[in-house]
Assembly symmetry: C2
Homo-oligomer: 579 residues x 2
C-alpha cells in the first residue's frame, strides 16, 4: 500500500508538471508538430505508470481508486475540448453523487466519460448487484438481502405467470423473428393506443401513429430529451425525482435537470408542486442564462406516491404553454392506485391539451403490471416530428418481436385485466400497505402515503444525529448491514435528509422479515444513540462536572426518542385513513 501511495504521489507530481507544460503550450500555438510529439511521449509515460500501478493492484481490483485529477489526464486534444467545457456544466448533484463513493480512478483503457459511467455504475448499482447475488429465500437463503429500495411490484407475479403461460402467448411468425419497424410492431402500437384510450379515458380514440415503443420508459425519457434538447439545455423537474432521470441525462443526453425542491415543512401542501415555485424556478433559470426547454412531471409521483389533481395538471400545462415549454409527463405508475383519495387523471383524459404538440406522455408495463423484466416503455405524443425523431432510436432501444407479441396479448385481454388482475392487485396492495403502515405506526415512524405507487415515503429524520445526508447514508448502510435495502431520499435529490422510500409491494413472508429487520435497525440506532449520550455524559461528569448542563444543552444532537414527541399533524401530511 505504501508503494502505491508513493506512486500516487509521483503520478500526481508528474501530472502537475504536464499541466503546467500544457499551459505554456497554449501560448505557443504555432508549434503543433512539436506539441504532438510531447503528447505522445506523455501518453506513453502515463501508460507505463498506469501499468506499474495496475501490476501492483493486479488481481485485487479492476479499477484503481486513486484520487487523481483524472479529467486532465486523457482528453487533451482539440477534439474533445468542446465536450469538456460542456461536461463542466453538468448538474452539480451528479458530481456530488459521484464524490460520495470511491469512484475516481485512473484508467489506461477507458475514456473520461467511460470512467464516469463506470464509476456511476459502481456507485449506483453495487448494492443492487450484491442483492442479486445474495437474495433472500424463505428456505434456501434466510440470511439473504431483501430489496425494499427497488420499485417493483411482486404482488401478482403468480397471476402474470399464469397469464403469460397461456398458449396464445407463444405464437411465432416470420415477422416476429425479423427486424420490426423501429417504432415498434404496428400490432403493438395499435394495441397501446387502444389500451391508453380506454384506461386513460381519452375523449377520442388515440392514434397508433402517435405511439413509439421502446425497451423501457427510461429509454423513452432519454430519447425525448435527446430530440427536444441540445447538450446543456435544461428541463425543470420537481424533487424528489426518479433517479433514473438523473442517470440517463448523465449517460447520454447531457441535459441539465433544474431541480424544483419540494419540501415537507416549507410548502403549504407537503411535497406539493405549487405554481409560485414553478414560475420562480423558471425565472431564476432564465436569469442564469439557462435554456429551459421544458418541464418533467411524474404522475402518480415516484417517489412520493402523490397524484396530481386534474386542476393542478391543467395549471402545469397552461404554465408550460405560456412559456413555450415542452412537458414530458411520466405516467408509468398509472393503474397503481390502491386507495387514492384523489383519482388519477392522465393528461390524455383532457378534452383538449393546452399545447398538444409539446405534451409527451410516457407509460410502460413495469409498474402497472409488475413486469419490469419485460423492458417495455411507450411514448404517446401528438407531435409527429417527435414521433419520427424518437423512432429513429428504435434500432438501439428495440424489443424482441416475441416480447412485443406477448405484450400485445396482455394489453388486449381487457377481461383478465379488469376482472382478475386489477382487483386482485389492488386488494393485495391494500393488505400489504395496511400491514406495513401499522408496523410503522407501532414503531412511531412517520410516513407519507397517498394511496398510489408501490412505496411509502418514510421519515426517519429523528434517527439522524445530526440530521445530514452523511448520517442518512450511514443509516442506509446500517439497514444494509441488516440485509435490507431501502432507497435513501438523496438518491431522489430530496432536499431534506432523513427520508427513505420503502417499497411495500412484496410477498407477505418477505414483508414480515423485512419489517423485523427494519425494526431491529431502528432499535440498534436508538441504543447507539443512548450509549453515545451516556458516554458523553460520563466524560463530561469526569472532566468538568460544573459545565455539564450547559454543554449538554448546546449540543446539536437531539434524542430520537424525545424528538418523536413533537406534533406530527403539522409536520408530515400523513393520510391517516391508511392506518
Amino acid at each position: 500500500m505504501e508503494v502505491i501511495l508513493h506512486l500516487r504521489q509521483i503520478i500526481n507530481e508528474f501530472i502537475l508538471q504536464l499541466e503546467s507544460r500544457h499551459e505554456q503550450e497554449d501560448l505557443e500555438q504555432e508549434e503543433q508538430q512539436h506539441r504532438q510529439n510531447i503528447r505522445n511521449q506523455e501518453a506513453i509515460l502515463i501508460h507505463l505508470m498506469c501499468e506499474v500501478v495496475n501490476l501492483l493492484h493486479s488481481g485485487a481490483s479492476s479499477s484503481l481508486e486513486l484520487q487523481l485529477p483524472r479529467l486532465s489526464l486523457v482528453s487533451k486534444g482539440g477534439a474533445g475540448s468542446g465536450q469538456q467545457a460542456q461536461s463542466s456544466r453538468e448538474p452539480d448533484q451528479l458530481s456530488h453523487q459521484l464524490s460520495d463513493s470511491k469512484t475516481a480512478f485512473i484508467s489506461c483503457y477507458l475514456s473520461n466519460r467511460g470512467i464516469d459511467f463506470s464509476a456511476l455504475y459502481q456507485s449506483n448499482l453495487q448494492d443492487f448487484i450484491a442483492y442479486k447475488g445474495d437474495k433472500y429465500h424463505e428456505d434456501k437463503n434466510t440470511l439473504g438481502f431483501i430489496n425494499f429500495g427497488l420499485s417493483e411490484n411482486k404482488h401478482c407475479i403468480d397471476l402474470l405467470t399464469e397469464r403469460l403461460s397461456q398458449s396464445d402467448m407463444n405464437y411465432i411468425d416470420d415477422d416476429l423473428l425479423q427486424y420490426p419497424d423501429w417504432k415498434g410492431h404496428a400490432f403493438l402500437r395499435e394495441e397501446v393506443a387502444r389500451f391508453l384510450t380506454y384506461y386513460c379515458k381519452a375523449p377520442d380514440l388515440l392514434d397508433p401513429g402517435n405511439v413509439v415503443v421502446l425497451n423501457s420508459s427510461l429509454s423513452v425519457f432519454l430519447t425525448l430529451t435527446m430530440v427536444l434538447c441540445d447538450p446543456g439545455d435544461a428541463f425543470l423537474i420537481p424533487t424528489p425525482l426518479y433517479s433514473g432521470f438523473t442517470l440517463t441525462s448523465h449517460l447520454y443526453s447531457k441535459v441539465e435537470l433544474i431541480h424544483i425542491h419540494l419540501q415537507s415543512k416549507m410548502d403549504t401542501q407537503t411535497f406539493q408542486l405549487i405554481m409560485d415555485k414553478l414560475e420562480k424556478a423558471l425565472l431564476e433559470a432564465k436569469f442564469k442564462g439557462e435554456k429551459v426547454r421544458g418541464l418533467v412531471l411524474c404522475n402518480p409521483n415516484n417517489s412520493l406516491g402523490n397524484i396530481d389533481t386534474l386542476d393542478s395538471l391543467k395549471e402545469y400545462l397552461e404554465f408550460a404553454k405560456r412559456h413555450n415549454l415542452h412537458v414530458i409527463i411520466d405516467e408509468t405508475y398509472m393503474l397503481s392506485e390502491f386507495r387514492a383519495s384523489i383519482p388519477f387523471h392522465s393528461v390524455l383524459n383532457m378534452k383538449s391539451l393546452p399545447d398538444p404538440n409539446r405534451t409527451h406522455v410516457i407509460w410502460g408495463t413495469s409498474k402497472s403490471f409488475g413486469i419490469s423484466g419485460f423492458c417495455f416503455g411507450t411514448l404517446y405524443t401528438h407531435n409527429k416530428e417527435v414521433v419520427s425523431a424518437v423512432g429513429a432510436f428504435g434500432f438501439l432501444h428495440g424489443i424482441a418481436g416475441l416480447t412485443q407479441h406477448k405484450l400485445c396479448r396482455l394489453l388486449q385481454d381487457g377481461e383478465w385485466i379488469d376482472n382478475v388482475y386489477l382487483p386482485t392487485n389492488r386488494s393485495r396492495m391494500q393488505v400489504a400497505h395496511r400491514y406495513i403502515t401499522n408496523k410503522l405506526k407501532t414503531m412511531k415512524v412517520r410516513f407519507l402515503s397517498r394511496g398510489s405507487g408501490l412505496y411509502i415515503w418514510v421519515n426517519l429524520k429523528e434517527y439522524l444525529d445530526p440530521c445530514t445526508f452523511e448520517e442518512e447514508q450511514l443509516f442506509y448502510r446500517r439497514f444494509l448491514d441488516n440485509k435490507l435495502l431501502l432507497a435513501p431520499g438523496k438518491a431522489y435529490m430530496c432536499k431534506e435528509p432523513g427520508w427513505f422510500r420503502l417499497t411495500f409491494t412484496d410477498k407477505p413472508f418477505r414483508l414480515k422479515v423485512a419489517m423485523q429487520r427494519f425494526s431491529e435497525a431502528l432499535t440498534h440506532k436508538k441504543q447507539n444513540w443512548i450509549e453515545k449520550q451516556l458516554e458523553n455524559a460520563l466524560v463530561e461528569s469526569v472532566s468538568s462536572p460544573s459545565t455539564r448542563r450547559s454543554s449538554s444543552s448546546s449540543s446539536s444532537s437531539s434524542s430520537p426518542s424525545s424528538s418523536l414527541s413533537f406534533s406530527s399533524s403539522s409536520f408530515v401530511n400523513v393520510d391517516t385513513s391508511h392506518f
Copy 2:
C-alpha cells in the same frame, strides 16, 4: 406554394439579420442581460414565423422542408456552443448522406440534434418503412416489395420457429419477470461464454464475467465507443463498412470514424485491408491531430463477405498493440460461412491475444441464427473495466428476461445446432447462392463473393453513365420502382460508385421473383441507354452532321453493353468456384 416561398425568403433574410446581430454581440461581452432579452425576442419571432409556415403546411407534411441555415436557428446560448463546435467535426460522410435527401427542415419543437436524428431516420429508413408496409407475399401481395438490401437470413425461419416452439422455451419464473442484472442474466452470460468457447475454438474456457449482454450487436458497438472514446475521438475503420456504425456514432457517441477506403482496382488484393494502408491511415490521422483510440474490424466482413486469415488478424492486432489502439472486432457473421475458401477464425481462437485488455469482441444471434427480431448482442472482453463500463448501459439497452431465457436455451442446444440448424442452413445457403450467382453470370453481372455472409457484393458500374454516386442512387431508385430493395455501396461508404449489396438468404420463391425484377431493371436501364444514344445521334445528325463523329467520341458516356466486354479477371477478384 408561392406564399411559402416568399415566407421562406423573409425568414432567410431575418435569420441573416439575426446572425449579423449575433456577430456584433459577440464583440460586446458585457451586456449579457440586454442580449438575453434580444434573444428571447428573436425566439418569439422565429416561433411565430414557424407557426405561420406550419399553418400553411398543416395537414400536408409534418416537417417543413425548407433549406434554411438551421444550425444557426436554435443553438445560440453558451450551453450548446461546446457541442456545436464538436458537431462541425462530425464525419463528413454523414452530412453528405444527409444532404442527399430532403432532410433539412425547420422545427419549432425539436432541438438541433433532434432535427438531425429525424432527418437521419427519414433518409435512411423511409424505404425500409415502405417495404414494411407493402411486403411481397406470394398469394396476398404479389406486387409488394422484396427486400434484398437488408441483411437478414430468412432461410431457416422454419427450423427456428420449430425449435422456439418447444416447451422448454416457455419457462417463466419470478426472476425473469423482474429487473435483471444489467449486464444480462447470469445464466445467459454463462451460456454465451460456453457457446463462444466452443464455436470460437477458444484455447481455454471463456469467462462469463467477461460477457455483457445487450439488445443488439450495434448497442454493444455503441456502448464500446462511448466508454473507450470521448466525443471527437476517432476510430479507424476500413470501408465498405456496416452503415449501422455510422448511424450509431452520429446518434450518440460522436466518435469520428476515419475511413480506410478499400478498393477493387488499386489494391493488390481486391477490397483487402493491407498493413501499409493501416499504417498510412494512422499516420495521416495523427498528422491531422486526430486522437485515434482504436480500430474497428468486421470478420466475416459486412458487406463484402470476406474472411480474414489468422495471419492477417494477428497483423492487425499487433499493429494495434504497437500503437496502444483498442480493437473492436465485430464477429456477428460468425457461423455464416457456407463455402468459404478461408476458414473463419475468431480472435478468441488465438492462443494469446497480443493486447487482451484492448481487444473487444462483438457477437449476436441476428445473423448466425437468422433471428434479427430477437435484438440480442453480446460483448466479450478480458478488460474488466470495459465490462463494468459497458454494463452501466444495460438499463437503457436491456433485453426482456423471457427472451434471455429463450436465447439461453437456444445456445445451449448444441445437438440441434450441430446436427440440425448449421448443416441445413449451410446447404440452403449454398443452393440459394448458386441460384443467384448463376443468374448473375447469365446476365453478365460481376460480383464478389467469398463464401461467407448473407449477401453478394455486386458490381453494376457498367450500368452507370456517368459512373457517379448520383447515378448509383438513381439506379437504386430504379430497382425500388421495380419493387426491389438493394443496398447501394454508398451506404457502406464504398469509395467506388456502382457496387450494391444483394442479400441472397431468402426463400426460393422470393429469390426467383427478385431476380426477375433485378433482370428487368437491368434490361430497362440498357434500353434507356440505347434510346438516349439514338436520340443524341439523331439530334447530332440533324444539327451538325459533320461534327457527329468527333462529338460522339468525346462523350464521357460509355455503353453498358460495350463496357461489358472488358476483361473481368483483372477487374474483380471473383471466386469462380461459386459459379
